[in-house]
């Protein structure tokens, strides 16, 4: 059933050979400055999103992309301590099950962002580029298996039944918040903000994030087949990185356009940082349901400590809190509903 979702979190697989050939052809036909292979097609009759497409790629735009990549790769969302802990701590399969169940909905709905952007794309150039990415996301380059299916294999190897119960399992809160923010970005923000979020905000972030997760998965005893979803994203993103970069150069010719792309990427990464904090809390709370409430950077007043203790000590208040949490959960969709919402 989840195959129907045909989803990936990011443009994770490299373009198929056909797609790459098509991209290269596009660059040869209309690419700026003889853009290298991987550029998106540019039918000449359509208006361009960016001025740079007509005038050639400027050094300024290239510098922008280089700076943006550095900014993304050093962002807290990409370098969250939880990811560092995955790399260095011997988390068990059980921990990764909780991790995966929180991450899975993101994988299932990624194409819906692209589909929305496709509808809103202001030019045929942009539409063509997005359509090509989508074709790839639907399963090209991963032996016919879309990435949600690949992720399902991983989850089952952790002992999770979530992929088989997607029509009843509610989307966990961290994933729901992340998806909601991205849907807002691709629906309400300017097109290039959306592009920044699903493009560099995902494409340049994911290999680096998974680079931290993969050693932890291996340490936990997962086989290469079981973690294929993750390795695919690190090992096969080189081609696609160049492809995306050319597209961004094409779309981001003006200062305003670049600012919008950057804003989209940063909005996505801020959501990503909150998501990883939520996943870490979920992993901790799976082991310790009564985990202490972490202090954080702000000291608490005595009154607040007392109030928290009184709250935690009262069975009625705790039941009220649990009821409220359940109520919030009922308001969240199931994973299937989330996927279907994305298609509307």
């Amino acid at each position: 059933m989840m195959r129907d979702a045909s989803a990936v979190e990011a443009r994770e697989a490299p373009p198929s050979s056909d797609a790459r050939a098509e991209a290269a052809g596009g660059a040869a036909l209309g690419g700026p400055g003889g853009a290298s292979s991987g550029a998106a097609p540019q039918p000449s009759s359509e208006p361009r999103v960016s001025a740079s497409a007509a005038s050639g790629v400027t050094a300024e735009a290239r510098r922008f992309l280089a700076d943006l990549r550095v900014e993304i790769e050093s962002h807290p969302g990409v370098n969250h301590l939880f990811l560092g802990r995955c790399a260095t701590s011997p988390f068990a399969r059980q921990d990764y099950r909780v991790f995966g169940e929180n991450h899975y909905p993101l994988v299932c709905v990624f194409t819906s962002y692209l589909e929305r952007l496709l509808v809103r794309a202001p030019t045929s150039d942009a539409k063509l580029w997005l359509a090509k990415v989508l074709v790839d996301e639907y399963g090209e380059g991963s032996e016919g298996e879309d990435h949600a299916t690949l992720y399902g294999h991983f989850l089952r190897s952790c002992g999770s039944t979530v992929p088989d119960r997607a029509d009843v399992v509610k989307v966990p809160a961290p994933a729901f918040e992340f998806v909601r923010e991205h849907r807002r970005i691709v629906s309400e923000e300017p097109f290039l903000v959306g592009l920044g979020a699903v493009g560099p905000g995902h494409e340049w972030a994911i290999p680096k994030m998974f680079d931290a997760v993969i050693p932890g998965l291996r340490r936990a005893g997962f086989t290469p087949d079981e973690i294929g979803y993750f390795t695919l994203h690190v090992e096969q993103d080189v081609d696609h990185g160049a492809w995306l970069e050319e597209a961004l150069l094409r779309f981001g010719g003006t200062h305003e356009a670049r600012a919008q792309i950057r804003r989209g990427a940063i909005l996505s990464l801020e959501a990503r940082a909150r998501f990883w904090s939520g996943v870490q809390r979920a992993v901790v709370r799976w082991r310790q349901p009564n985990a202490v409430r972490v202090d954080g950077a702000s000291p608490r007043t005595i009154a607040r400590e007392i109030l928290m203790t009184a709250w935690d000590g009262s069975p009625r208040l705790r039941a009220l809190e649990a009821g409220y949490d359940s109520f919030l959960a009922t308001r969240r969709p199931t994973i299937r509903e989330l996927v279907e919402q994305g298609r509307r």
Partner: protein, 541 residues
């Protein structure tokens, strides 16, 4: 250059851990090494225990340090590595350093590509030298640290090189006083139980005893060095906080120094409450000194009582007795000093032995009993004796709250017995506070907010600690060490039998005696410095 020194979290936030409620002290090791280089470099200390999760990355990406250093005890090891890995990711050109107990005693664990230099032993002089070298070499990207004593570093080919060990600083007075301004933003947030806000200082380093479950004496090569009385009182006076924790490994070890300190405190009329760690036998043997210390502000003494049984104490090479524990506790009680006793249960204990310990604690009227599980910490003699039998290699479970060796009781029952400790010894605590109130009638009213604060937090923490399932959940999926793989049970572990105090003398003469006795634990007498000396004799490895 900009130097960021990072105190890692001990665990993922919110898990079991005494730092949540019992004890959170200042990162004195970091302020001390930071102070040593502060005259030439810009230094910041980031205490991740008191920060949000993203604080490290934000500091790295906005402040852009040239050097990132961290410290690690055993349970922090993975977190320390995560800190340095993150630093390299965000600032690829940064020089990464790690020091502290665990890297000193188990350096191979830090032999990874994101750790440039491992500092072994005391760090103050070593860091100064590293910084001098890095200042000259950074432009060229030259990360060779050949000849910097007390370090292991990776050469251009990724080969770990080992330098000769660094001699310890002869006099602690020669070291700069740790600059507490480096942690100004966290001041007021450190505590020991209800003693808050609390400053932290050290007045000595090392311990002259050689308990087999402890690595302090190995780290300091069986030497103890002291700060002069004047320097100690200078530091105490400079602290704005009403409480000062003296973080010495064993404060009560030298009678003359304690007398000199009392003289100095009295001469200068010091008005501070302070707490420290020290042995019960010293307190039992020197009641007049304890009285003087109490008069000069000593309000809490943390001691390793360890056991209610002389056989157990001897097996641990504690060189003390339950009678001394009892006597010390009486003396502390009479002088209005809260006694914090650490007790160690053994994995091979029966329910009767647990009950016996709790009865003993209740008979002591001890103020703050803390219960731990005998854990062969890496770097100790116990570890060398039991490393092949450990149920887990996960250092997070070496927090003294988890049984890393097979238990005699089913684990559920073992943890059931362990986690009823605080309820079972409540009588002791209540009685101790009556004594304390009698001896220091103004203390509780003066510090009522801190006491309320502590009880509010500890109650919430006890919700986790009283539930034996918390311990089982913590270790789920993580018991895959050599002992677990071999299917060992408690019967396969040759625990000390209990007659070691009788056999100790003979053991000294015949260290190679066989069997699961204490003598077996005493065979590996090497310390980390021996390993360093051996490694540095070669070209490197």
């Amino acid at each position: 250059m900009r130097v960021l020194l990072v105190m890692p979290t001990p665990f993922e936030n919110g898990r079991l851990g005494l730092e949540n409620v019992v004890w959170l002290s200042e990162p004195v090791a970091l302020t001390s090494v930071g102070t040593a280089i502060q005259d030439r470099h810009e230094v910041r200390v980031l205490d991740l225990r008191l920060e949000e999760e993203d604080a490290l990355v934000r500091a790295l990406s906005t402040w852009k340090p040239d050097v990132v250093g961290t410290t690690s005890m055993t349970t922090d090891a993975y977190q320390a590595k995560a800190v340095l890995r993150t630093a390299k990711n965000v600032c690829p050109d940064v020089l990464t350093l790690v020091g502290g107990h665990h890297p000193t005693l188990c350096p191979d664990e830090f032999d990874v590509d994101y750790v440039d230099v491992i500092v072994q032993g005391e760090g103050e002089h070593t860091l100064r030298e590293i910084m001098e070298r890095w200042t000259k070499q950074r432009e060229a990207g030259d990360r060779t640290f050949d000849g910097v004593r007390g370090t292991r570093w990776r050469d251009a080919n990724g080969v770990r090189r080992v330098n000769a060990k660094r001699e310890q600083t002869a006099s602690l007075d020669d070291l700069p006083v740790p600059n507490r301004r480096l942690i100004e933003k966290y001041q007021g947030r450190y505590f020991f139980t209800a003693f808050r806000p609390m400053a932290s200082i050290f007045t000595s380093r090392g311990c002259s005893f050689d308990c087999n479950f402890c690595a302090i004496w190995e780290f300091y090569e069986r030497r103890t060095r002291f700060l002069s009385a004047k320097k100690i009182v200078d530091q105490m006076e400079a602290c704005a906080e009403p409480f000062v924790f003296v973080l010495d490994d064993n404060f009560l070890t030298n009678k003359r120094r304690v007398v000199e300190l009392c003289d100095e405190m009295e001469r200068r009329g010091l008005k501070k409450y302070w707490m420290t760690q020290g042995r019960t036998d010293f307190a039992a043997d020197n009641p007049e000194l304890v009285a003087r210390l109490a008069k000069n502000g000593l309000v809490m003494l943390l001691s390793g009582f360890e056991s209610n049984d002389d056989d157990n104490l001897a097996a641990l090479r504690k060189k003390s007795s339950w009678q001394k524990n009892l006597r010390a506790n009486e003396i502390l009680r009479e002088n209005g000093v809260v006694s914090t006793g650490i007790f160690m249960v053994r994995p091979d204990w029966t329910k009767e032995q647990f009950a016996g310990l709790y009865d003993y604690v209740n008979s002591l009227d001890i103020g703050i009993p803390l219960f731990t599980i005998l854990t062969p910490l890496p770097g100790t003699q116990l570890y060398r004796a039991y490393r092949d039998k450990l149920l887990t290699d996960d250092h997070r479970l070496f927090d003294l709250l988890h049984a890393v060796l097979p238990t005699r009781l089913p684990r559920e029952e073992f943890y059931g017995e362990f986690c009823r400790a605080y309820d079972a010894t409540e009588k002791s605590v209540r009685s101790a506070y009556k004594w304390f109130f009698k001896a220091r009638p103004t203390f509780i009213p003066e510090n009522i907010t801190s006491i309320v604060w502590f009880y509010a937090r500890t109650w919430r923490y006890q919700r986790i600690h009283r539930d034996h399932r918390s311990f089982l959940r913590d270790e789920e999926g993580l018991l895959n060490g050599p002992g677990a793989k071999a299917g060992l049970t408690w019967e396969d572990i040759a625990y000390p039998k209990g007659d070691e105090h009788v056999a100790a003398k003979a053991a000294d003469d015949a260290p190679a005696a066989a069997g699961g006795k204490l003598v077996k634990l005493r065979i590996p007498r090497r310390i980390w410095a021996d390993d360093v000396a051996e490694a540095s004799a070669g070209v490197g490895r």
